[in-house]
Symmetry: C2
Subunit: 347 residues, 2 copies
């Protein structure tokens, strides 16, 4: 049966298959490790019980680095069946020559087209979630991309203001959320305010309920300064900005603690006390996550109408095309997307 791209999947189309639409996985920069780790994830899909997914991008970026089966599909609805025997691929415009490890502007356009299409499919319901492969920001900036990162781009395409989404880093026993993200550290303080913290924390709490099936999520809010300001002697943002936000969230009935000293929030016993750590800036959230789960961390965008995850690593051009890239983070991103899609659907 022919269906237009973007038409929602009906359960009747899969009498014996999964009740959810497949996941859309954009390949990222064709010269990066995205195609390789996505192909590798498909190859061990059964061991990880991955929900059916299809890749979006250029065919040659996969075949250049992988000799397994790839089958072009014309619509996401074909993916679940193809997924059994080949990596399903929805093609975007040919980016021209691809040399793994050597990015170019045509590849950046291909990466951007791929994520654009993937967002559209997820929004339409043809895909139950979006998983994005790594892109090269410097290449994207060179073709006129004016968003700080894919997160902000996806938010805009979903019609959601960037301040209403949050970047959640997800590891096996740790979730962290930076309130400010891709900003010079010197601009963090002027950007932080109680409203932003409250808004992001609400978004995170809703995501924990809806996407992680945690009925009463516990949030731990980090301080900004050493020792969370030590009562004001090492900085006053905790008193003037963060504590009022915590009080506001508590008044709304949320289980929120803080501001806490950031350096003592992430050891095993501390991690067990909350479902997500709300952090004030990028490295405060990323350092603990990547210290513990460098090659298996997932970046999830919460607050969108769609589900979006990505592996928490870059294009790694230095090892692209050598077969050496670990698919662990991509597998974790795909697994999490599937888990969250099931949680949202209540199945």
């Amino acid at each position: 049966m022919e269906m237009a791209v973007g038409e929602a999947i009906r359960e009747a189309d899969y009498p014996d298959g999964p009740p959810l639409a497949p996941l859309a996985v954009s390949l990222g920069d064709p010269a990066g490790i995205g195609p390789e780790v996505i192909a590798k994830a498909w190859a061990i899909r059964r061991a990880h019980r991955l929900h059916p997914f299809f890749a979006i991008g250029d065919r040659r970026s996969i075949t250049a680095v992988w000799d397994g089966p790839v089958e072009t599909i014309s619509h996401p609805s074909e993916a679940p069946e193809v997924f059994e025997t080949a990596l399903p691929l929805l093609r975007v415009d040919d980016p021209g020559e691809i040399t793994p490890g050597t990015p170019n502007l045509a590849g950046a356009r291909c990466a951007l087209d791929s994520v654009e299409m993937a967002v559209g499919l997820a929004r339409s319901g043809a895909a139950s979630a979006l998983v994005t492969g790594p892109v090269a920001k410097s290449q994207l900036y060179a073709i006129g991309f004016d968003h700080p990162g894919q997160t902000e781009f996806v938010a805009e395409r979903c019609g959601v203001a960037a301040e209403n989404v949050a970047m959640m880093l997800v590891g096996p026993d740790l979730r962290t959320v930076p309130i400010t993200i891709h900003q010079p550290l010197g601009k963090v303080i002027q950007t932080l305010n109680s409203e932003l913290i409250v808004s992001r924390a609400r978004t995170v709490a809703r995501a924990l309920i809806r996407d992680f099936a945690i009925p009463q999520p516990r949030l731990a809010v980090a301080g900004l300064n050493p020792h969370a300001g030590e009562g004001g002697s090492l900085g006053r943002e905790e008193i003037e900005v963060i504590a009022p936000a915590v009080a506001q969230l508590q008044a709304e009935g949320l289980h929120v603690t803080g501001p806490l000293s950031a350096d003592t929030m992430f050891h095993p016993a501390a991690r067990a006390q909350y479902d997500a750590a709300i952090c004030m800036y990028h490295d405060q959230a990323l350092i603990p996550l990547k210290t513990l789960y460098f090659d298996s961390g997932v970046n999830m965008t919460v607050g969108l109408p769609i589900l979006r995850t990505s592996p928490d690593h870059g294009t790694a051009f230095g090892i692209a095309g050598k077969g050496a890239a670990s698919p662990r983070a991509m597998i974790a991103a795909i697994a999490l997307a599937g888990d969250c899609a099931r949680a949202r659907a209540g199945v």
Copy 2:
């Protein structure tokens, strides 16, 4: 033989004992967990092969929380022999009533007197290193203490400018050094400059050579901004401040890399590439260390004429007097002080 406090130990005093003077361990705030964890460390001194040490502080702060043997000594030279059968204690003025968990100003004065005496003994050579128990900064501030922390206090007492010492956090396979320490985050950028980074890094390199017996230490220098500034698009301090410092250090023949993205510096494979991570601010250095080694991290002050370590935890008044405090970090601090004393002495 009677010796004045402060007189250097002569090897001839210990024909069969260790060739080094004992370690001086200040008890910290009498109402905190310092006395308890120091007593517990003594109790399992043999299993950890701890170098002989003596405590400095008030006797009741120990007996209130521990029923093992304590023997008052009149000089450090008595410590090694006493150490075999009791915790040797050099007393300071009585702080009055002690209630574990309830600090008071008399206790803060006792803590300050203890560390002051311990510094003097270490400077004189009567102690081969100084280990400091945890103090309550808010209590110290209340009695007029005007140093940000014990580190700066010890530096001043050793006649060393604070900018010439560095705080090194030491875990089993990670050493981190914050360039700026107890400063509000908003003041970090104005404090950072190339000269400060160069000065601290040199200090760290010398300590790795002298105190850790690493002939050619490798330093990894962190960036300040997300992704180390991503080529200038997320901040310019890497280009303008940090990279010139790295170049200067390299020109001096040191093995230095950076500026590196801080979030990817601390996973196991990254840690194996350097002997110390030079970090730009407190939490950048403390978060990875405490995430990995929360209850066994050691804080070492390098750049002093004396050796000084301390457990990387606070007074923990909430659990003081309950017998629940873990001595792991104190044991690690004492063990490291002994190791470094041996390295300095070349034995």
